[in-house]
C-alpha cells in the first residue's frame, strides 16, 4: 500500500539521500580509472560531511576508533603525509608514520616483506606513497590490509584528483561540460592521469597540454576506455581559450635539463600560466596547482597568488577528501565485516 511521494511536498533537507554506501565495494583505493559516476558522487557527498566535522569546535569523531592506519611513504612528502595523518586522527584512528627508504630487493626489506610485517603487527589500512608505478597493486595483493595509493611513480594519485574535483565542484557546481585544461609535464605526472580519469568520468571536457616530448604515447587517441578520452594540444595559447579551469603542473628542473625541453626559459615562455594567457580563458576561470609551485616557471607569481587561484583551498579540501576515503574503504574492510557478522542478529 504505497502512495507515491509528492515531490513538491518534500523539502530538500528531509529527502533521503540518493546515493547510499551499500553500493561501495572497494577495499582499496588504487586509481580512479574504473570509478563510476555514482562512486565519485558518493565520494563528494561524503567529503561534504567530513568538511562539516572539520568545522566543529572539536573536530573529532570516533568513526575509526580501533582502526590502525599506517602511512608508508617511500617518497618524502610532508604535505600529503600530514594531510593523511590528520584525516586519520580526526576520525579517531591510530596513525603510525613510516618513512621507508626506496629500497630495492638488494638493500633493506622487500616491499612484500614490509607489508606482511605491518599486517602482522596490526595495520588495517596502509597509505602508500612509492616511486615505482604499480607498487600499491603489489601491496594490495600481498595481504588483507586495505591499501590507499598516495602516489605511485608516474601512474596515479587518486586522492589528489578527488580533492581537485571537490574543489572544482565547490566553485563551479558541476564539472559536466566544463573545459578543464591541464598543462605541464604530462609524461611524468600521476596527478594529470588521475585527474583525466575522474574528470572525463564526470563529463568534463579535458584538454591536456604539453610540449610534444612530454606527451605520453597514444594519449589523445580514441582508444575506448583503455585511456581517458582527453584531447591533447601542444599549444597552450590555443588550448586555454574558454577554459573554466586551468591546472598547472610542476615542471621539475631535471626534466628541463634532461633533453625533453630546451630549458626553463623556453618552457616558461611557451607554457607558463600567467596573467596574459589567463585572460584568454573564461572570466573567473579557476587556477589550480597540485603543489609545490615553481613560481616563475609553470605559473607566474601573480597568478599563483591571484584572485582566481584555488591552491590553498585544494590543500584544505585535501584533509576532508582523505577522511572520506578512509571512511569508505573501511566500510568494507574485513575487520569491520567480521565484527559486524559477529554482532548482527
Amino acid at each position: 500500500m504505497t502512495t507515491e511521494a509528492r515531490p513538491d511536498v518534500v523539502p530538500a533537507p528531509f529527502a533521503a539521500p540518493s546515493t547510499d554506501e551499500s553500493g561501495w565495494k572497494r577495499r582499496h583505493l588504487l586509481d580512479l580509472d574504473d570509478f563510476s559516476v555514482e562512486e565519485l558522487d558518493l565520494m563528494m557527498r561524503t567529503t561534504d560531511t567530513m568538511k562539516e566535522v572539520l568545522s566543529r569546535e572539536i573536530p573529532r569523531v570516533p568513526a575509526l576508533r580501533g582502526t590502525t592506519v599506517v602511512t608508508l611513504f617511500y617518497e618524502n612528502s610532508t604535505r600529503t603525509r600530514t594531510s593523511f595523518e590528520l584525516a586519520g586522527k580526526v576520525l579517531g584512528a591510530d596513525v603510525i608514520n613510516i618513512a621507508a627508504s626506496s629500497s630495492s630487493v638488494s638493500k633493506g626489506e622487500s616491499l612484500v616483506d614490509t607489508v606482511k610485517t605491518l599486517q602482522a603487527v596490526g595495520a588495517d589500512v596502509l597509505i602508500m606513497r612509492h616511486n615505482r608505478s604499480g607498487a600499491p597493486y603489489l601491496a594490495a595483493r600481498t595481504g588483507h590490509c586495505s591499501v590507499v595509493n598516495a602516489g605511485d611513480g608516474l601512474h596515479a594519485h587518486p586522492t589528489q584528483a578527488l580533492l581537485d574535483l571537490y574543489t572544482m565542484r565547490g566553485a563551479l557546481g558541476d564539472v559536466r561540460g566544463r573545459k578543464v585544461v591541464i598543462v605541464g609535464d604530462l609524461l611524468h605526472s600521476r596527478v594529470a592521469r588521475s585527474n583525466a580519469w575522474a574528470l572525463t568520468a564526470m563529463g568534463a571536457d579535458v584538454v591536456l597540454c604539453a610540449p610534444p616530448t612530454l606527451v605520453p604515447a597514444r594519449l589523445g587517441e580514441a582508444l575506448e576506455d583503455r585511456l581517458p578520452p582527453v584531447r591533447v594540444e601542444t599549444n597552450l595559447d590555443r588550448a586555454i581559450v574558454d577554459a573554466d579551469v586551468v591546472m598547472a603542473l610542476r615542471m621539475q628542473h631535471e626534466r628541463m635539463q634532461g633533453g625533453y625541453v630546451p630549458g626553463a626559459r623556453e618552457y616558461s615562455r611557451l607554457y607558463q600560466v600567467n596573467t596574459e594567457r589567463l585572460a584568454r580563458a573564461n572570466p573567473g576561470a579557476l587556477v589550480m596547482h597540485p603543489g609545490p609551485m615553481n613560481e616563475g616557471v609553470e605559473i607566474s607569481h601573480d597568478v599563483a597568488h591571484g584572485l582566481q587561484s584555488r591552491v590553498e583551498e585544494q590543500v584544505t579540501n585535501g584533509v576532508a577528501v582523505r577522511m572520506a576515503v578512509l571512511w569508505l574503504i573501511t566500510r568494507t574492510s574485513t575487520k569491520q565485516a567480521r565484527a559486524a557478522a559477529k554482532g548482527a542478529l
Binding site: T2, E4, V9, P13, A16, T19, D20, E21, R56, A63
Partner: protein, 182 residues
C-alpha cells in the same frame, strides 16, 4: 501484510501532545532546542517546533544530527545509508530535546549523545520519540513518547512521514512476513 498502528490523525495528536509535554516539562519554551536525528527524526522535530509555535507563540531553533560517524558496529543492521553533514544551532547551556521516530535498542541515541557533547555542552538533554518499541540494550529511556508498541525482534516497524515518504503512517510488519517483505 502489515498492520497500521498509527494513522495520520493518531500521529497528529501524538505530535501535539508531545509538544505540550515538552513545554510543560521545561516550564516554558525558553532555551529549548529541538534536534532531529536523521532521517525521520528531522521532519518530526520540525512538526513539534511548528506545534509549539502555534500554541506557545515561540520560534524554537531546530537542527539536524547525523550519527553515522558515531555508530559502533552493532548498530549497523540494515544497508548503510551514506553519511550527511549535521547542521546544529548553538547548544551550549541550552535545553536540548533529541527527536527520533523510533526508539529501539538505544544505541543510536547513545551515539547521538556522544555527538552532541562534541558540539558543545548542553544544559540538559531529553529524548522525544514517536514510537517506543522496547528491547533496550542500554540504560536509555525516552522522556516523551508518542506510543508504546510492544514488538518482537523479528518485527519490522516502519514510520512514514509525508515529507519523506509521501504519507503519514506507522506500520508494524509481523515476524514471518518481515523476512519476506525485506
Amino acid at each position: 501484510m502489515s498492520n497500521v498502528i498509527m494513522s495520520r490523525d493518531d500521529i497528529r495528536r501524538a505530535v501535539t501532545r508531545i509538544a505540550h509535554e515538552i513545554v510543560e516539562n521545561n516550564r516554558g519554551a525558553q532555551d529549548l532546542v529541538l534536534i532531529g536525528m536523521r532521517t525521520r527524526g528531522v521532519p518530526l522535530a520540525a512538526r513539534i517546533a511548528r506545534a509549539i509555535r502555534e500554541f506557545e507563540g515561540e520560534e524554537i531553533p531546530v537542527g539536524t544530527l547525523d550519527v553515522g560517524l558515531y555508530r559502533d558496529d552493532l548498530t549497523e543492521r540494515g544497508p548503510s545509508v551514506s553519511i550527511q553533514p549535521s547542521d546544529l544551532p548553538e547548544i551550549a547551556g541550552k535545553r536540548v530535546v533529541l527527536v527520533d521516530d523510533v526508539l529501539y535498542t538505544g544505541r543510536t541515541v547513545r551515539a547521538a549523545l556522544d555527538a552532541l557533547i562534541d558540539y558543545g555542552r548542553p544544559g540538559r538533554i531529553q529524548l522525544a520519540v514517536l514510537v517506543d518499541r522496547g528491547h533496550r540494550e542500554l540504560p536509555i529511556r525516552a522522556d516523551f513518547v508518542g506510543k508504546n508498541i510492544p514488538t518482537s525482534h523479528a518485527d519490522d516497524v516502519q514510520v512514514r512521514f509525508e515529507e519523506t515518504d509521501g504519507e503519514d503512517t506507522v506500520r508494524v510488519t509481523a515476524a514471518e512476513e518481515a523476512g519476506v517483505s525485506r
